[in-house]
Symmetry: C2
Subunit: 200 residues, 2 copies
């Protein structure tokens, strides 16, 4: 009894992670009963997204065709000797929000996961190696996620970097700032003890 | 540092109810890293939605320009003497899923809510009255939601129907099927007692 365009929109929306058929149906009917042409505006934003986004030819993060290399790679005030390697473009934004990192980035677009069919050639590892040959990089910080896949990816990349002779580091583990030790997870607590620092 | 098309898509997506900026960001990046051109397909479905959906000229539910009157109004096997009045097009689907209702529908597109600025002239009450004059309807079931707005709307419509002389009913309240009495809400339980039925 639902008309086909509604069914089609529900099916497309329910492909998104965390949005099931019920939520998608609710969203579609909500859009249809709003003033201000919500479906058309969302459609146009998504089409622009589809048409304009590409991977930066330097760091492989997502950028527009107009800005390639991306804004961060184009900036002259960043430290060219340092590359922070992350899994996703969103991770770049997370580091930028800290306001403390002044080097460059490289986005792998995922982590090794043989069970999910993600092998080294699907990650942007080759462009990273090419950057290291061409540029004046002295340190690569491997900031992949602290889980099995992220750790494996960091180990794999570190092994490839060894012959190049660049300093390779990994983010520190420890307890989160603002956490209560009582509720900290055991692994982070163990790492926090292991990597304890001298008070200066 | 986010490119503008990404920011625009995030802003449009985060207008949807229940989707905040964080979720919208996650969805946009997810779409951009999927195979199979997800943003373009979703955009096209939403554009079709925008271009093709209209209100049925009989029952006011949402339908396409190609199917007006809607499929349900066009069916010859439904009981023309009975109209079930609901707030939203989704409510029609809910009743159709029961497989037990054989009459016609009328969609008000909301409920009276003076505080939200929803007055009688914003609901599809006038088309309902016109249907009653023209058709052979003997009963109108007011199936607005069982809350303050829905009850007020039902009372308001019932008062308008009185001079027409059509039988006007309201859905029964009671405890849900499959519920445990221990956990039933007190109002429903009180109504279930009040409307108790003779065992036959």
């Amino acid at each position: 009894m639902t008309s086909d365009p509604i069914r089609r929109a529900v099916r497309q929306l329910s492909r998104l992670p965390g949005i099931g058929e019920k939520t998608a149906t609710r969203l579609v009917y909500w859009m249809l009963t709003q003033p201000g042409d919500v479906p058309a505006q969302l459609a146009s934003a998504l089409q622009e997204l589809d048409a304009s986004i590409t991977e930066c030819k330097v760091c492989c993060t997502l950028t527009t065709h107009d800005e390639d290399p991306c804004r961060l790679c184009a900036r002259g005030d960043r430290d060219d000797t340092l590359i922070l390697v992350v899994e996703h473009p969103q991770d770049v934004l997370a580091f930028e929000r800290t306001g403390e990192y002044r080097g460059r980035y490289h986005v792998l677009h995922g982590a090794l996961s043989p069970l999910d069919g993600i092998t080294p050639d699907q990650l942007r590892i080759r462009p990273l190696l090419e950057r290291l040959r061409a540029e004046t990089v002295t340190e690569v910080v491997l900031a992949t996620d602290p889980n099995v896949e992220g750790d494996a990816t960091a180990m794999y990349v570190a092994r490839l970097l060894r012959p190049i002779g660049v300093r390779t580091t990994r983010l520190a583990h420890g307890i989160s700032v603002g956490t209560e030790i009582e509720y900290a997870d055991t692994v982070s607590l163990a790492r926090a003890f292991e990597y304890r620092r001298e008070l200066s």
